[in-house]
Every structure is written in structure tokens, then in C-alpha cells.
Amino acid sequence: MHPVTKTVLVRLGYGLLTLFLVSVVIFSAIEFLPGDFTQAILGQLATPETIAAFRKELGLDQSAVSRYINWISGVLRGDFGSSFSGRGQLTSGTSGVGRSREVADLIAPRLWNTLFLAGLTAIIAVPLSLFLGITSALYRNSIYDRAVSVTSLTTISFPEFFVAYVLILIFGSLWPVLPTLANVDASTPMAERLLRSALPAMTLTLVIIAHMMRMTRAAIINLLASPYIQMAILSGASKSEVIIKHALPNAWAPIATVIAFNLAYLVVGVVVVEVVFVYPGIGQLMVDSVTSRNIPVVQACALIFAVTYIVLNLIADIIGIITNPRLLHPK
């Protein structure tokens, strides 16, 4: 077997193992909740019979192992169970079965919104930070390099909600050209969706660009000291040729890791930006569900987040492996 295929397969195996462990942790979170869980959900309406009916419906009378198997096999079939929502409204004697929405129906439109925003931001931020990183390395220690560094470090140093409010102040109030409410829905036409997502995407771009830009710059500068680059310079190659043709291919691995990390952040970590711009993404759904103790939704969101991290890191690893000349040309 080609060593690249083998390494990729091993990585995939590790990914699946991590995913399994994460699913166990997520599932057992329900066990760690303090106090009586059913009572917390039913609140005022927690009469003995509603609690009994509720526990039975959730299968809390079964052992943890069989509940885990039921849940994970449902998830593998795409069935995340049904949400606990609306159960606080019951009258005594019922457990609200059949009144709640399917978790998958709740999550699907939100996940699409989140992926859209993440994708939009990535399309702007990744090429931009690569460009800035490479040019900074090219003209390092110049005024340009310093200006880019200072600006990007400034934007990353502020909390993201502050960056968001400053952008709202500039583009929403002082010079009102962009909408400050990004409340898109399934029926929003693409042009309007892009317009409404402009400010959140700008905020996220400003927040993530520094990390990727600095890593690109550092990785390239690191390589510039190595003997093969000096060889290239001595052979008369131009500065930009040295960087793009000789340094960059070897710098891909750390850059890809940082990009993957930031893309994962765009999917799982942007709840603050979503709240500020009222963007109906999955982060808001998860926070809502935590406050209302809507455990099936929290579990599903956590699992999606875990998958996102694992898959993106896997891709970064694979990119790192296949761009490594030593692995591409085995002896």
C-alpha cells in the first residue's frame, strides 16, 4: 500500500475513535446534570405521575448502556430524537408526547445558516489572510508588514462583540449602508441573504484573519533560513519565486492546521456574533437549548460540533501529509 493511503486510513481510524469517545462524553452529560432532571424540566407541573410518564418516555428506567446504544443507533440512522420543547406547558397527567418537534427539523435550517455564514467568511478570510501573510513575508520588516501586523493584531485583541458593535456603529449608524439585523430565513433570496450576512461576515473575518495571516508569515519566514532556500537564492531565483515556488509548498502543513482550526471556530464558536446580529445560527439554538434544558438538541449540537472539529482537523492532517514531499516520494 502507498504510505500516503495508509497514513490517511490510520488518521480516519483515529477520527472515528475520537468521535466515539466524544459521543460517550456527550451522552453521559445527561447523567452529570445536578438535581432531578425531570423535575427541572417539568417545573411547576412535576406531579408524581407526570414525572413517572416522562422518565418512562425518556427511557430513564433502563440502564445507561442500553440507552446509549439506542441513542447512537438512532443518530447513525439520522434520527436525533424529539426535542423536549413545550413540555413545560403540560397539564397534569400527560407527558406531552407527540407535541414536540423533531430535533433534526430544528437543527437543519440553523445548521445551513451557520455553514452559509462560515462559508462566506472563509471565502473572504482565507485567501485574504494567505495573501497578506505571503506578502508580509515577502516584504518583511517593511512599513507594509508592520501595518498589516498591527491592524490584524488590533482586531483580534478586541472581543468579537466589540468588533461587531464598532462595525454596526460605522456601517449601521454613522454611514448606514448595511443592515444590522441579519435575520435571514429559508425564503430569503440569495442577494438579500448576502447583504444581510455582510456585517457578521466582516466581523468574523476581522476576528480570524490575524491568526491565519501570522501563521502563514511565520511558517514562510521560518523556512527562509533553511539551506535549500539559500541554495535557491544563490541560484538567482527572484524573491517572490523563492517564496511561492520553494518555501510555500513546505509551509502548507502548519498553515492548513491553522485554517482548519479557524474554520471549525466559524462553525462552532460564533454564538456571540450570532446574538449581536440576530443571525439564526446553530450556536444560538444550542444556547437556547441549554437554558431550557432541551437535552436532545444540546446533544445533537455537541455531536455536530465534534464532527466539525474532527473532520476539519483530519483534512488538515491529510493536506499536511500529502503536501509533504518526503511522504509523496517514498524510497
Binding site: 420543547s85 413545550g86 397539564t91 437556547d288
Partner: protein
Amino acid sequence: MKKEDYLKNQEIKYKLGVIDRRQFISSAIATGLAVPAALGLAGQLNAATPKKGGVLRHASGYGSTDDSLDPGTSANSLSQNVIYTRGNHLTEVSNEGELVGELAESFEASNSGKTWVFNLRKGVEFHNGKSLTADDVIASMEYHGGENATSSAKGNLSSVASMKKDGNHRVIFELKEGNADFPYLSSDYHIMIQASKDGKIDPLDPANGTGPYMVESYEPGVKFVGKRNPNYFKEDRAHFDGVQLIAVIDAAARQSAIMSGDADFADAIPAKTVNLLARAPNLEILETTGTQHYIFPMRLDTEPFDNYHMRKALKYAVKRQELVDKILLGHGVIGNDIPVSPAMPFFHTDLPQYNYDPDKAAMHYKKSGYTGPVPLSVADAGFSGGVSAGELMVESAKQAGINIQLVREPNDGYWSNVWNVKGWCNSYWGGRPTQDVMYQAAYTKETTWNETAWRDTEAAIKFNELVVMARSETDNDKRKSLYWSAQELLHDDGGSLIPLWANYIHAHSKTLAHGPVAGNWTNDGNKVSERWWFS
């Protein structure tokens, strides 16, 4: 014709467009009005004449992904707004605070409040084209009040013994016991009248309402979009072409939306920032004093609050105006330990106001014979600013020699672990239209939400009797004297310490106009979309 009558007549003609502005002003001058006054009068009338058109974008501080179209599950202001936007009820509380018929043209009681006859409006159509009949009313009532009902309004209809129709446009309710407030109970926002099929309603069907706007799309916790119902039966209502109710939970986001013009109306404006918001030239601030009050319930089943003098001492030991100034920043009024607002029927106007009086507090405290610390559990979950209010109360009580011991409770699980459990905590109530409904929610002996456990004292027993008597009393003078006595008992002996009535604060664009504003709920009775218009 008298001068005033003539002017009134001309006003009507001007509003209807029979005469133009110039003619109206000259006729006003002819009655002796000065020219600027006549111009002003024309301007006022112009602003008060609703215009059609535009799309209202309402940024709401409420709403949750747990909401649904089922009116029986509504639990917050946004989902209530959705109900009022897409549907109607038998009766409604008007923007002037009176109970009027909505889908019922008229209603009357007989048999001392035991039999209620509702005559339905004719020619009302649901959005799906079906005409409103008595069957729809009965099916809707059955959905909310039937034996297996899961609606939050089930309690409102628990007194209904039977319903029957008399022809297609009359419904007769037989109650188990007389209740003069039954039409108020039927105005509850959950009990929306929906189109029935074979005696059943589908509560989730978006097209089975009669309301001012038809559902175009609804994503719970995100956005409701409606377009005007062209066949709406109220001719002077529903002026917008469409409405959007948008959940904007973050207060700062709500304010930036209304300031930048991304929304036309925003509710739940924090008192801290309202003065800054008022400086925006395109905005107007609207405050209403409604039925929302903040309360420190003392439980009589817990020491030392079972002691009458202890309760009295604490009622005198609170600087109420200071709480209004520092907790609500002036956006509210002081309370008098009864859950009845001046806007509610049979409000007791002659009760002495509890004011801060350290001498009286010390006197009652001494009489109570209690000496240890008095624990008070607080959290901001009870009401926003609850912890600070508790700290102020500790200070003011100290001057009367009373040692309140403040216990900070976590917000999470507050309503199940602290409220209605601990001896003294903080909580809030809002939106009950009548005394009977308010008492049945939190004051009568049967209700589990009786947060003061005020059940067994002599006064409490008398209070419960009075409430039952007042409920079936149809003579208004007698009802008034019963309710006044009930309020006196509650004021003197009850466990509620109600220092604050909090205003509802809204901001709206200056292009929006409105008539008198209701105080029973936030957002003009949650009917902005039906009652307001773009000027």
C-alpha cells in the same frame, strides 16, 4: 346647532374626506377658533386618521425556539403577539382598557352569572375561506378546556359545565358556578377561535385564524411574517400591508436595529439606556404603566412570616420610592402591597399607602417578639435588579433595627428551587385583566402558585369567601364593596410585599402613529400590528 356640535360635525366630515383641509380650517375659524389653533386641530386629526400601507418590522425581546403555532402553548410576549396577529377571540380588552366583544357581537349573563350567551358576529371568514360558526367556537373551547386539554388556559375554562349552540351564531355556556368575569376569562390570549372540521380544530394549521394578518411564514424564536387579511372584519384596524415579528433577544441588538432603521418598533427597552435612546432624532419612546409588578412574597408557612407584626414591620421597612428611582431608574411607580392596578376594575382608591416609616416598623418588629436575622432569598431571575433591590432593603430595614439577611440564589433553577419554596424571595407578575383572575393565579387557597401561602389566617379565610362571592355577583355596586374589602384584607394581613409597578418601555420610529395605548400587556396589549399605522 351649537358651536361645539357644528365643529364636531365638520371634524367627522373632514375625517371622512367630505370636506378638504382648507374648508375644515375655515369652518373652524368661523366658530371663533384662532387660526393657529384651527391649523393645529387639522394636524391632530390628520395624525389620528389611520393610513393603510407599509410593512411593520417589530423587534421583540421575547420568543424562543420552543414556541409553536399552537395557541395553547404560548408562554411569552412574541408568541402571544403571533396569536393576536393571526387570530381573534370571543372578547378582547380594548386599547382603552374596556372589555368589548371581538368575534362575539354581544354577550350577556343570566341565572346570576351561571349562564352566558355569546352572539357571534356574522360574515366573519377564516383565512382558509370558511365562515365562522358556533361549531368553531365550541371546538376551540373544547380544545382548550376539555378533559384531556393540554392548553395553558385550561384553568380559565374549568368552570364550564357544558356548551351548546343555538343556531349558527349563538353559543350558550353553562357554568358550574356563577362567574361575572367569564367574558374576561374568554379574552385570554390562548383561547383563539380556530376553524373546526368535524368538531375538532387543528391548532397548528396556519390558515385557520380570523385575524388581521395571514401567516406567510413562521420560524419559532426567529421570525413571524404575515400579510394583511383583505377580508378582515374590523374595518378600522389592520392598517399595515404586512408585519414581521422578529425575535431580537439581545437588548443592544434591539436598540441598534431600531436606531439604524432596521426595525420600526422595539419592546423591552432597558431602563438604563432609554434616556440615551430618546435622544435619537428619529425615535419616540413609549412607556405604559400596566399590570406588571415586582413582588417579595413572604410565606406564611415559614417562620417568622407567619407573624402578623413581622409582616407589617417589613412592609413599613422598605423605601419604595428609592427602589423606583434606583431599580427602575424612575420608570415605574410605587406599589401598595396589593396586586391590583388602577387600570383594573374595582381598584380600591382609598387604601392608605405604605411608606417607609422606621418607627412603625420598629414598633411592629418589637411586637412580633422575633429577634434573629430575617432571611431574604434573591436572584435576578425573580426580576431584573432583584439582588440590588434586596441590598437596598437590607439597608433601609437596618435603620428600623431589623436585620435582613440577604441570600443570593442562582438564576438557574430559581423557579423550581427557590420561588414558592423559600420563606421570602423575589418574583414578578403581569398581565392579569381582573382581580378575580389575579387572585385565582396566586392568592386563593386552592392555587399551587399561592406564593405567600396566605391561606389559614382569619383574614385569609374571609378573603377567600369574598372572592367567591364577588365572582358570581352581577350587581356592580355590591361587587365593588366585596372587592374593596378583599383588597383591604390583602393590604393589611397578606404576605405580599409589592414595592414596584414596572413600566413597559418601547421605542418606535416617528413614522408610526397610534391611538390610545392599552396597558394590559406590553406592546399596546400586544396588538401593535392590529392597531397602529404609518402616518
